[in-house]
């Protein structure tokens, strides 16, 4: 089969096709949409759907082919395929940037997640967005997002990664503000964009630092050919980065913090829920937000050089995990709960990276993509069914009306809560085990607590939405219906993935082969405290412990929110202050508003605009230039008499002066 394919196309071409397919979709749909707007016709839904869904699926298929190819590599030979640079993108004296792809184990896993989950969500969107005005525009943006995301994960240089990084940021902005007629939603898009920019500043500075460190080091030119941002080059010369490793890693991590919504830059993610739900599922849960994780994993060889940076990553992740989990406990908006859950889970991934368990982080990234996408899509299904209702206090008992959604949602919740044998159990357990085993007991404690809270708030959600008695009026209740097949089928596929997706990473202790770990290992740098395989007993004990801990919270949540609905109110009354603190998300947004946003606006308006711009630049710069021109003009017009002979006269005077200079110097 593979031989047949490679008879006609080279692997390199195939690799490019992965990116090219969604790009083609984006362009075609975009043009379609633009033409429709220009010439006032209704964009064809069939055309848009076939292109918008078909091309990502093609992309997925191509990724699978390449994956199969790489799997088939003989033992010992590193299954890496770097496609040759397509073209030189920018070249200066000391820097050359080529446009090339790098397909190795890590990027391929990412590409599979992106195209696989992405394609499913595209399919789902055909149902969810069926009645929307901007159908073609939506798919154009979504395809464009896929393009950039693939570029991000497949790019062979930091610059290309950054292109994808910014590109997905742009698409995120476009899609959050997809319904831009609503000022709040447009505001949310803006907020996401600006907060991300803060992180990107750090990212850029980190890149510059890498360049200065490498370009200033007088390296053999034939080995790097000025491609200082190429991953291979950076890796090859990483020793030269040692002195600057800590600032570089921290700055790059700032970018990751922004993109992956970690403390303190997580504030945009909950607001990003303003976009269509499939967008939340794809971008703000499954793919884009994991870009930071991918970046840190990709540059693992850099991070291991700076233990301090690793500490920072780990602690940031752990605190975010717990902090977001506590906020998630009391949220009443179904998507907000999931948003905070996403932040929390991303925290776990960073924790894994921070303690050096890179493959565990990627493993969790993968399982998380499955179940979080499923959760969001399930939530979308519910919202769709309820006609846009998002408040979980007004739901309940939906199990009766939409069984498929309900049970897939339960599977996903079990997965995220870490219930055996669903996907999340293995990945989360791997993180916890590596944290514990790496000697980070305090981190482990925080993560362990967070894991319990995760189980609690997830089943609180399940309980409040799908179980118990319905609270809505009968008329409305009768309208609730199961989602169309296009959506339901996606839910089921993802449910299967959430259930079994973790099995490729079953550790040796539990009788598995830890395939993912094996597969990814060559990509990552070895951390200082190498994990030995051997203490299987401890590992099993830990796993059982965390399972019991999660189950305990599941049951607790179940009891409280499905059976004893009066308990939460009573608890809130008793812990009034704490309740208000958590319910209002620790007033973080307000604090930011007070400390940063308002001073910034004040300075901009009063000083930068009122004084700098109007007084200085306008008066001296803009108008001043004009006035200077007028003055000069008057002087110069004196010379333009219109009498050619005078011009020649002056010309001759000049010639005489020159000859004078030559004769009598």
């Amino acid at each position: 089969m593979l031989d047949l394919i490679y008879k006609y196309v080279s692997p390199q071409t195939l690799a490019w096709l992965i990116v090219a397919f969604p790009l083609a979709g984006a362009l075609l749909n975009g043009i379609h949409s633009l033409l429709a707007g220009r010439f006032h016709f209704k964009p064809s839904k069939v055309f848009t759907s076939i292109l918008g869904v078909g091309l990502p699926f093609f992309s997925f298929a191509v990724t699978l082919i390449i994956f199969a190819t790489l799997i088939g590599f003989p033992q010992g030979q590193e299954p890496t395929m770097i496609t040759g640079p397509l073209f030189e993108w920018a070249a200066t004296q000391g820097l050359s940037i080529t446009f090339g792809l790098k397909l190795d184990q890590l990027s391929l896993v990412m590409a599979l997640i992106v195209t696989g989950v992405g394609s499913l969500i595209h399919l789902y969107s055909t149902g969810y967005m069926a009645h929307d005005e901007g159908y073609a525009r939506y798919f154009s943006h979504l395809n464009l997002f896929l393009t950039f995301m693939l570029l991000l994960v497949l790019g062979d240089s930091l610059v290309l990664l950054f292109v994808g990084w910014e590109g997905v940021g742009l698409c995120s902005y476009l899609l959050i503000g997809f319904w831009f007629e609503d000022p709040y939603k447009a505001y949310c898009g803006k907020k996401a964009f600006i907060v991300n920019r803060i992180g990107d500043t750090g990212f850029l500075l980190g890149m510059f630092l890498i360049y200065t460190a490498l370009a200033g080091a007088d390296l053999p030119a034939e080995q790097h050919q000025n491609q200082f941002f190429n991953f291979e080059v950076i890796r090859h010369f990483s020793a030269y980065l040692l002195p600057a490793a800590t600032p570089i890693c921290l700055l790059l991590f700032l970018g990751a913090v922004g993109k992956s919504a970690q403390i303190p830059l997580y504030v945009w993610l909950p607001d990003a829920m303003a976009g269509p739900t499939p967008v939340s599922a794809l971008i703000h849960a499954a793919t884009m937000v994991t870009a930071g994780v991918y970046m840190v994993a990709r540059l693992s060889f850099l991070y291991v050089m700076s233990p301090f940076a690793m500490e920072v990553v780990a602690w940031t992740g752990a605190i975010t995990a717990l902090f977001a989990a506590t906020i998630g406990l009391l949220q009443t908006d179904i998507k907000k709960v999931l948003a905070y859950s996403t932040i929390s889970q991303l925290g776990y991934m960073f924790l894994a990276l921070g303690v050096g368990a890179f493959s565990a982080g990627i493993f969790h990234l993968m399982t998380h993509a499955f179940f979080k996408a499923l959760l969001f899509l399930g939530a979308g299904s519910v919202i769709h069914a309820l006609g846009g209702e998002q408040d979980i206090t007004k739901m309940g008992g939906l199990k009766e009306r939409m069984p498929i959604t309900c049970w897939t949602f339960v599977i996903a919740s079990a997965a995220i809560a870490g219930i055996f044998p669903f996907a999340g159990f293995f990945s989360k357990d791997a993180i916890l085990w590596h944290t514990f085993h790496g000697g980070h007991i305090s981190l482990w404690l925080i993560a362990f607590l967070g894991a319990g809270l995760t189980a609690f708030y997830m089943f609180r959600l399940v309980g409040m939405v799908f179980f118990g008695e319905p609270v809505m009026k009968a008329a409305q209740w009768m309208k609730v219906h199961e989602s169309p097949p296009s959506m339901a089928s996606v839910l089921m596929i993802l449910a299967v993935l959430s259930a079994v997706g973790g099995w490729i990473g079953i550790p040796y202790a539990l009788g598995g082969g830890d395939h993912l770990q094996e597969w990814l290992a060559p990509v990552f740098a070895k951390t200082v405290g190498v994990i030995e395989i051997g203490s299987h007993a401890t590992e099993i004990v830990m796993a059982v412990l965390s399972l019991l801990w999660a189950l305990h919270f599941v049951i607790l949540a179940w009891v409280i929110y499905a059976q004893r609905k009066e308990w939460p109110a009573r608890m809130a009354g008793r812990l009034r202050l704490l309740y208000r603190l958590v319910f209002n998300k620790y007033w973080i947004d307000e604090i930011y508003n007070f400390l940063i946003v308002r001073p910034l606006i004040w300075t901009s308006e009063k000083f930068l605009w009122g004084i700098m711009d109007v007084r200085l630049i306008d008066q001296f710069g803009v108008h001043g230039t004009g006035r200077m021109m007028l003055v000069w003009n008057r002087l110069v017009t004196l010379m333009q008499t219109g009498v050619v002979q005078q011009y020649l006269f002056f010309f001759v005077v000049g010639v005489i002066l020159i000859i004078w200079g030559m004769l009598f110097k």
């Binding site: 110069v636 017009t637 004196l638 010379m639 333009q640 008499t641 219109g642 009498v643 050619v644 002979q645 020649l648 006269f649 001759v652």
Partner: protein
Amino acid sequence: MITLNHYLILAALLFCIGIFGVIVRRNILIILMSIELMLSAVNLVFIAFSRYLGGLDGHVWVFMVLTVAAAEAAVGLGIIVAVFRNKETVYVDEVKELKG
């Protein structure tokens, strides 16, 4: 014996006479003729150097200059006729439309 310097001085003289014509005369036709004279003086330098150096490149450039002179005369006379049609004069001091 006649040397290159003789030719150069002769060309300089003729060129300056051309300049004199351009500066002093009011009749635009004569100004144009003076310019042709200047061009010819330059041609003389070209030819003299070409002869001195033994190459024919100077001849080629004279050829180019002649082409330019012909084009200049055609366009210049066209302008003069047009100006005369509008202003009934060929004196440059009476045509000052381009005054700043």
